[in-house]
Symmetry: C2
Subunit: 421 residues, 2 copies
């Protein structure tokens, strides 16, 4: 109950403050983002002092060192956040884009334009840089931000928000458009997820469990991000010299992220030739293989020993150096497998046959489909449209990397001179 | 449990059949819709016989005559459904639109294109024409349809779906892309709302209770439609000769629909002049007034007797000849009132001052904002983009009337020549 009234109060204050965002020009929003970048760098020591408290607490509570590293800020990492903010400030304004425009026979002039959502909640884990990334993307797109980070980063997040709010207080936009939701107890997450009417949208970013909880529990609209059981399908007409680096890069370049591949599907016509090479390369790179029986047979013949995959494996996002491998008799079988076990994130085909590529595109039903390229390219920066607030793998509203444009909704504006029906 | 397996089976069959939709060309989809229009007209007698059963059952169960009328089909109404379908068949293809296109420095070619959702569920009430409207909009936009209508229209809906499926069976698209979900018991609605992963989207259409239930219960993504507490704000700089017909049309033209106005807000500077005229016109038209105290005072001085509005009245969608009326000291007060009590559907301002109009547009936060026009123009056909499957008043994905384009999602297609990161 206390969490509910606290979150409602923050949301109301953010809503009122968001009117200063609506009143601000595109240049004023960009300047505010730039100013935040400057002040973050100027505040480096203050941020590092706060971060040291979080790190100390994490270590003494026995947190895994890889998790501690995600929590750690350095002067370089702060510089990186500031650079990200500067980049966002320079992107085209996502507001007031005219999406449709027409004049009707009765003289009414219609325009559909992009407008902010209003108040957007972020629920995220560990890494304090999300605090800055999310705040500046939302600021630039005209939205007020309610930031609910991890309690393990509470000291760092508090100082980052303080600095951003101080920076805003020197300009025309109210500092209340950036609000930190206390993370001391879990009930503030629930309160945020049920602030329907007060919060327009909640975006979860973090582990599969976190995302699941947010999407299942929320009565506020959410955008599902992240889960990625991505596949690489090596077609019968693949150039195998392209296939090998694509498989290796998709799996091993950064196994912990959502656009890493979890499963390799190989057409039976090239399996005998491709799999011994691919399995060797994967195993040499430290990848644990979960194979179907046909793959296990082929592996045995080339003196490689691999485990059989369980039914559960095919839908597991390992986020680690592990990969499922199966032989499929056709592209249709590959598409069926992907439909059954995939998460509609990123699917790749390696083929030199354009017809096959188009067939795969039509059947793969995902946010991004790669033809002869690594699954790792599903990424806002790689795709050339700047920082992202997350990668959506739902079909409503936004699909794939979400940047500034995806943080807007639309309004129809109808200009009349007294028309009635 | 039986409902669940039945709905899952229908959904799976629809999913498999949807591949014939993906394979079909735009011309084939349009032809299929046109063919359905022909066969509906040819099937008029068969449809009327089935409809007579529903009507008889409705009457003998004591259904209100206005509800019976919504259920009734006539040769003219069947012709109307067919005309609607023909109109849809002629609209531009919503699929394969290129929304973004770029070539990256590394040679990757990116295209964002529109694609169907896949399998879309409709949950709706009474009127059997929704069965045809929804099916042909979904067919034309490449989606398979699971149609769950009202049990009171079950005989009519069964024959309409039968005729549409027979029509499809003579062409390249599988008839299984149109599925009727049995309406004999309520559990099939629940089953549809929980077929997550099998159904991509559920759209409710009907009463506020129905929509609320669907949006609250569903684990499948939904688009909220319908609820409309719309306002007309008569500004201090209004042309009162325009204001009167706009108020009257917004309230009385068709009070039962979502884009009818429920509340009139009048700037205090013109209240003394405008309200006596407006109240008289409304009362003469049979409108019951729920007034704030200032309006009641003004009414009293012009010898009109009106009731005081309760707090609840301000957020009530009457769907009838009743209207709330309040005097506001400023545009900001009007915007605050709308934010507090409105449903983000349609808001109208009457003003000759462009600055005021822009201020109202910026603050009204709704699907459609009318400047000097009736709220009744928030409508797919009126806005010139054809039939609609509903009017969204949520901010995610679609806002306002939803036609063919809104029944699509997107995919990023990335063409490479072996690129890795």
């Amino acid at each position: 109950m206390e969490a509910t009234s606290l979150v409602n109060q923050l949301a109301e204050s953010a809503r009122t403050a968001s009117r200063t965002l609506i009143a601000a020009s595109a240049a004023e929003r960009s300047t505010a983002v730039n100013q935040i970048a400057e002040e973050l760098v100027a505040g480096t020591e203050r941020i590092l002092r706060a971060n040291a408290l979080d790190i100390e607490r994490a270590k003494s509570s026995g947190m895994q060192s890889s998790m501690v590293d995600r929590l750690l800020l350095t002067a370089d990492r702060i510089q990186g956040m500031a650079d990200g903010a500067r980049q966002i400030s320079q992107l085209p304004d996502p507001l007031n884009r005219i999406l449709h425009e027409r004049t009707l026979a009765n003289g009414l002039k219609l325009k559909q334009v992009s407008v902010p959502f209003g108040v957007v909640g972020m629920v995220y884990e560990a890494r304090p840089n999300v605090t800055v990334d999310a705040a500046v993307i939302l600021l630039k797109s005209g939205n007020a931000a309610l930031l609910r980070g991890s309690s393990s980063a509470s000291a760092s997040n508090a100082v980052l928000v303080e600095i951003m709010r101080e920076s805003l207080s020197r300009g025309p936009i109210s500092p209340d458009v950036i609000q930190l939701v206390p993370s001391q107890d879990r009930s503030t997450v629930g309160a945020l997820l049920h602030a329907r009417g007060k919060v327009d949208l909640v975006i979860p970013r973090g582990s599969a469990e976190l995302i699941r909880r947010v999407v299942d529990d929320s009565s506020v609209p959410t955008i599902e991000t992240g889960a990625g059981v991505c596949h690489v399908y090596v077609d019968e007409f693949a150039d195998l010299d392209k296939a090998l680096p694509i498989v290796m890069n998709s799996k091993t370049h950064r196994p912990s992220v959502c656009n890493a591949a979890e499963t390799l599907l190989v057409h039976s016509a090239v399996a005998e030739k491709f799999l011994p090479i691919a399995l060797k390369a994967l195993i040499d790179a430290g990848v644990k293989i979960h194979a179907d029986s046909e793959t296990k047979e082929i592996a045995k013949r080339s003196a490689q020993n691999v485990d059989l995959a369980s039914e559960e494996d095919w839908s597991t996002e390992y986020n680690a150096l592990e990969m499922n491998v199966a032989v499929v008799p056709s592209l249709i079988f590959a598409a069926d497998h992907i439909q059954k076990y995939g998460t509609q994130h990123t699917e790749a085909i390696v083929t030199e046959n354009m017809e096959r590529a188009h067939q795969f595109i039509a059947l793969s039903d995902c946010a991004a489909v790669m033809v002869n390229a690594s699954t790792r390219f599903t990424d806002g920066e790689q795709m050339g449209f700047g920082a992202e607030i997350g990668i959506s793998n739902q079909k409503l509203h936004a699909r794939g990397p979400m940047g500034l444009e995806q943080m807007t909704t639309t309004t129809w504006i109808v200009w009349g001179t007294g028309q009635i029906r």
